[in-house]
Amino acid sequence: MTDTRTPLVEMKNVSISFGGIHAVDNASIDLYPGEVVALLGHNGAGKSTLIKILSGAYKRDGGEILINGEPAEINNPRDAKKYGIETIYQTLAVADNVDAAANLYLGRELRTPWGTLDDVAMEAKTREVMGRLNPNFQRFKEPVKALSGGQRQSVAIARAILFNARILIMDEPTAALGPQETAQVGELIKQLKKEGIGIFLISHDIHDVFDLADRVSVMKNGQVVGHARTEDVTKDEVLGMIILGKVPPKAIPGPGAMQTA
């Protein structure tokens, strides 16, 4: 179904190594508008590293990134943001000692005509966005280190959606959350998908993401095992991909697929 359109993101043959360890090895993944692609694999499979290349946190050793079919120059987080790529990192990456508004606008502060920080305007917008995401959130004046895990998570999510992202990367977004908050994130993902945003949803746990995803891409030992549409595979088959690298018939094998010959 997707073949006729240009992918929103295409990462082709991307590699990176850290002192001899091939954290990501010749990996290719893609993402279309309004699509949720789950990136699955064990801890240490290279998922976070791969998407950190897309978000500009790491520089790739090889391969290319296309955005809307055009080669994209992504060398740092600022470049990625220019392409509308927003990221919720596994570590959340919030500045603990400043408040929610300062975190939402970190690096993109609103300023008055005199060049000073427009804190009230930022707080107002923050109250609006947080009100939509997490209506119970009231602690606007406190440094985020005083917040609970779920509240910090909503700050990180709010920051990612505040600037009209076209491509959203969520690295284990529900790892720190309870069941109710997890459901809330699920609702949010459906809503963003409707708005035409492409989402990479990363998890080491298939149960978290299978119902939300249109496609899955599985990684193992830094390599891509394969891709599949969720309607074409069962959870058990995907588990087989994750654990053994065994690619089911309806999936497209990648370089990391188990050699059956």
Partner: protein
């Protein structure tokens, strides 16, 4: 809408159940840690006043205290930003020495040859050159720290030795004196004070500024319908702020010129010498005024500008700041360059006060500056600190120092006390942070 009213009710319910002391601090948003420091300072002041038989709390001593505090207070404002990003600058005393010596040679030996003695431009040219030199040294340190990844502790420890050595080379160890007569005003003294009338004007302007700030922040919060401080808290803060300002002005205005200087002034201006002597108040000393302006500018930079926001964000979580797209290395370079500029301003104050540039100028100042920042609530764990706190910290350190001189404690013992106070201050910071968690 319903949401807002229920939370407002919840807030009111919460404040009703709190005890009055807690409610007072929450409403006024007064930092209890800052208050603790003011308490400690008052104890030191009253203690020394008793021990010295009433010599400490006199206009004369307090005026001197303010002048002696100025140079370290200026540097402490920059040290806050350095420490907030989990760096340290051990070289500030040596930078002060080197820049001070360079400014000394420039104004006493080089510029007079070019422009003529006591040329009115000498002080500005000297000060600007010093500021540029300080900024360049700071930027050099910052670049090594940020781009070559050498820890700031090592870079500035090296700087401590390098710039002290370089100070010697400027004149081969010779003391340079006297300073340019206008430049000297930056050091205070009878001439370098602005007098009673101007001091009152400054005081009244400060009060107007306090009122304007409070009204403005109220208006801003009203514009977006945010919760406000209760009215009584606003009045309270305004009253305390203005009372402190006007009280300080009254003190510096009740310290008269020494008789000899007043008599010379009377003779020169054809004023008949009255029987009770001539009472000419000092008013605010120029170095103190400089320090206050530096404090205001630095507070503005650290709280109202993007740069300041980045400094604190980096201190909280450097990785998060980088991922947010902040150029953390450049911020580090800028912080150290700013620190260098402040060292140059401190050097101007200190050479002007001594009316000479010496080899030993600023020795141990790094410790007083760091101590001032830490005592003033800057956390060595990074991410936390205020400019006002650091300046108060400088005042506490200088109060201890001056008090000990006043009651006749020997220099070696003074050092022992200062050293112990520094350790205790850091220990208190650890305790405070552990409790805050």
């Amino acid at each position: 809408m319903a949401d807002i009213t229920t939370t407002a009710q919840a807030n009111r319910a919460r404040s009703a159940s709190e005890n009055p002391v807690k409610r007072f601090f929450r409403a006024t948003e007064i930092d209890t840690r800052l208050l603790g420091m003011i308490g400690a300072m008052l104890i030191i002041w009253i203690g020394f006043n008793i021990l010295s038989g009433g010599l400490f709390l006199t206009p004369r001593n307090l005026w001197n205290l303010s002048v002696q505090t100025a140079s370290v207070a200026v540097m402490a404002t920059g040290m806050v930003l350095v420490i907030v990003t989990r760096n340290i600058d051990l070289s500030v005393g040596s930078i002060l020495g080197f820049v001070g010596m360079s400014m000394g040679v420039l104004q006493a030996e080089l510029l007079p040859q070019l422009l003529g003695f006591n040329h009115p431009a000498i002080w500005v040219v000297t000060l600007l050159a010093g500021i540029l030199l300080g900024a360049a040294i700071g930027a050099l340190h910052g670049s090594i720290i940020a781009f070559l990844n050498v820890p700031s502790f090592i870079v500035t420890l090296g700087g401590l030795l390098v710039w002290r050595g370089a100070t010697w080379f400027v004149t081969s160890g010779r003391t340079v004196a006297p300073m340019d007569s206008t430049f000297r005003l930056m050091g205070g003294g009878t001439e370098g004070s602005i007098g009673a009338t101007a001091s009152w004007v400054v005081g009244i302007l400060a009060c107007i500024a306090i009122v304007a700030t409070i009204i403005n922040s109220r208006k801003q919060r009203q514009r977006f319908g945010f919760p406000q401080r209760p009215m009584w808290a606003e009045y309270f803060l305004t009253a305390v702020g203005c009372a402190l300002v006007l009280g300080a002005i009254a003190v510096v205005n009740s310290y008269p010129w020494p008789v000899a200087i007043a008599r010379k002034y009377a003779d020169a201006n054809g004023i008949a010498w009255p029987d009770g002597g001539l009472f000419i108040p000092h008013g605010i000393a120029i170095p103190v005024l400089i320090a206050i302006v530096v404090g205001i500018v630095m507070t503005f930079i650290s709280t109202r500008l993007r740069f300041g926001r980045y400094v604190f964000a980096i201190g909280g979580n450097q990785e998060a700041a980088e991922l947010a797209g902040i150029k953390t290395r450049w911020v580090t370079v800028k912080i150290f360059a700013l620190m260098g500029i402040l060292c140059a301003i401190a050097a101007a104050i200190s050479t002007a006060r001594l009316n000479a540039a010496t080899n030993a100028q600023g020795e141990l100042d790094e410790l007083y500056t760091i101590a001032a920042a830490v005592i003033g609530g800057t956390s060595l764990g990074g991410g936390m600190g205020t400019i006002a706190g650091a300046m108060l910290g400088a005042l506490v350190m200088q109060s201890l120092q001056s008090g000990m001189v006043l009651v006749g404690i020997d220099t070696p013992f003074q050092r022992i006390v200062v050293g112990m106070v520094l350790v205790v201050a850091v220990w208190l910071d650890t305790v405070y942070r552990a409790r805050a968690k």
